[in-house]
Symmetry: C2
Subunit: 429 residues, 2 copies
């Protein structure tokens, strides 16, 4: 057997503790599969005294995580600190500079600084493992970077944030509104005290930026991701979606178009019969459409100690086996430079819900505006009549474009009988 | 860039032609990802003159496929001949003996001779790529051998034969009987003229044997797989399944039990809400349950030129990148030797459908026999009354074991009022 692979772990929260536990519990099996033992030699965490339920006393403790990079007893640094800046960024840079392999679960770091990190890694001749950064226990990085490597990918679409999917699932099942369900999710620990990273779509956008880079073989570009969250989704729209044969999901989508790659995170109406529509609760899922493989769909647990530790350890086993793949799937000089296209260039169908005063002529005004902007309707719903009161009207368009619908909505919003800001949700096939 | 990876292809049927086409169409992208060009240098196929729609005239043609193994212009041999014996087996052995890497889509070869081939490959220091042997475009070999390598797997379950799944789907949707739908599937090219490999479960069993070896880290053992096909599934049972909240699927299941690993292919009742129940038509899917990752589910196209070529080329890119994993996920000396348990040891719930003469006392006789064998019932269905005529009775048991239900059925079959051989289908959670 080859010599032990020596691992330093920075960050002993849920995931870090999970990695310690997994490497201990399955040590023998992992050594058999990796061809060598994988052993933690040093750790760094803020609180040295907290009982984490795993044995740590035999490990070297380092107060400054960045010092792990220079540890003479460390071959691989596992960065589980989190955050795109600060010690996580410094540790990643120092690890690569020291010629060591980096494993990280840090989607923010990779989304924001991944292009520079990949250049540094290539220059230093080291690899970066980041299976744990996207979709937890689902091996989607490996699937895109290796399993589908022979394919030109046309489109990937995923449910990448379990908190949002949980909230949307409960809203639908219990016909409750967003704020109410969010408060419950926070009480249950499914959502953070400050939930904005999740519910405003930023977390999903970090993950999508990474997947889009791999799928289209280009450097990661977080700035190009269009991001919308789920704060404005209402129980009313979820119920209309049901009636129209859709589910509302927060999707991350990267799609090839004639002008470049669309990369966007936003709530979307998905046909109930689509695979992604059936993904409920905290689960994550990703579908990838390749020119030869066709559609491949993966579903699993996107977060939590076990699934994320499983992904970290898969990277460690790869490293122990000697597998090394370029960070974005190809050497820097071979990466594509397909441009991203802004959301303004998006073409698709839309769900539009208005609250209007139920009086003659409103629908005529609305449809005239849509006609002016070249938008045709697939269907319209208006239930019940309450003359003089506010009622919802739902319009589903045929394929149109973001500019046309944006201009139409701006005008529709100004009709006196239209009472609230119209709700607009993109429909995904 | 590293020197070109030179490939010899044996077999130019649908899949072989697909590989030629994929390597040509995506050549530039593949070279970028693989870090070197991947080039076919020689081919072998029975008919040299047939127009396959791809350019082949620049390649060296070899009449005897086995000669590819010794080709001085070949680094990797791709075996797409098929069959567990004959030229496929000879070519595989010779390729390994010549110290070359083998890539194969041949599930029969690996299921039957995979243990010996793995020993030979380890001795020769070469690897075997066989992503294409199971579930076509779904990267399930990579997922089990690498992505979930840190996990102890408890159970895998899959829909591994698209022909059977297509037939069962059409039977259910169109309420038609097996023979009728099979004849249609043959006419449409979805089933072979001699369909027994598919519909008797042998093809699925080959694939399951491979997955079970990987999941449980032991040498492949096709002889230990219990195999039943779908010939005896009737439209009547499919309709009862629907009523009871199940779908009937041909599943391949490998499950850890206290006494060893169960490895079995048979029609099973799957709850309609289960992920596998929603896999329809020619699609394949596999779910794996790991101790840390939880349940991971993969779905995609299990056969056809494109998906299978995608898997072959993924293996070639791995090889070009220098990735080499032991055939069964660990070196020979590190493989586990967990025993297999025979189907007779299976515990589970059962669906039992009898055709009985509708006369007083039959149900009392049947339930008395079940009671004698310690089998309790969860539910019973008998629709309509036709005194003196044949009517179906459906019984769903609580968990019992194969021996008990077998003995009970033998006795039930002897009751004079029971007219046909009882239909028995295992229920899977």
């Amino acid at each position: 057997m080859k010599p032990t692979l020596r691992v330093g772990i920075a960050g002993l929260g849920t995931v870090g503790t999970g990695v310690v536990r997994l490497l201990a519990e399955n040590a023998e099996m992992i050594a058999a599969r990796a061809g060598r033992a994988i052993t933690i030699t040093a750790v760094s965490a803020r609180d040295r005294t907290r009982d984490r339920g795993v044995r740590l006393d035999h490990l070297r403790w380092v107060d400054d995580a960045v010092a792990l990079a220079s540890g003479g007893d460390i071959d691989v640094v596992v960065e589980l600190i989190g955050g795109s800046e600060g010690p996580a960024k410094a540790l990643a840079a120092e690890t690569i500079a020291a010629g060591k392999t980096l494993v990280t679960a840090n989607k923010a770091l990779l989304a924001v600084h991944g292009a520079a990190l990949a250049r540094a890694a290539e220059a230093a001749g080291v690899s970066i493992g980041y299976e744990a950064a996207v979709a937890g226990g689902i091996p989607i990085i490996k699937t895109l970077r290796e399993g589908l490597a022979g394919n030109r990918i046309f489109r990937i679409a995923g449910i990448l944030n379990g908190t949002c999917n949980y909230i949307l699932t409960v809203m639908r099942e219990q016909k409750r509104d967003f704020a109410d369900v969010l408060a419950d999710a926070q009480a249950l620990g499914y959502a953070e005290a400050d939930p904005s990273f999740d519910i405003d779509g930023v977390d999903a956008a970090h993950k999508l930026a990474i997947l889009a880079a791999l799928a289209f073989g280009r450097p990661v570009d977080f700035a190009a991701v269009h991001v919308e969250g789920i704060r404005r989704i209402s129980a009313l729209d979820i119920s209309f979606a049901e009636e129209l044969g859709y589910r509302i999901k927060l999707l991350g989508i990267a799609r090839e178009t004639p002008n470049g790659v669309e990369v966007r995170v936003h709530p979307a109406m998905v046909p109930k019969t689509a695979l992604l529509a059936s993904v409920e609760g905290v689960f994550n899922a990703v579908m990838a459409e390749g020119d030869f493989a066709g559609t491949v769909f993966l579903q699993g647990r996107g977060a939590g100690a076990g699934p994320t530790a499983s992904a970290v350890v898969a990277d460690l086993i790869d490293i122990a086996r000697g597998t090394a793949i370029p960070v974005w799937g190809a050497a820097q000089a071979q990466l594509a430079h397909t441009p991203s296209v802004p959301i303004a260039a998006h073409c698709g169908a839309y769900f539009l819900r208005l609250m209007v005063v139920d009086e003659p002529g409103v629908l005529a005004d609305v449809t005239a505006i849509l006609r002016d902007h070249g938008i045709s309707l697939e269907s319209m719903l208006q239930h019940g009549r309450k003359p003089g009161e506010a009622v919802p009207i739902v319009l589903v368009t045929h394929e149109t474009n973001e500019a046309a619908i944006g201009q139409a909505i701006a005008r529709i919003g100004k009709i006196a009988a239209v009472l609230e800001e119209p709700a607009l949700i993109r429909i995904e096939p």
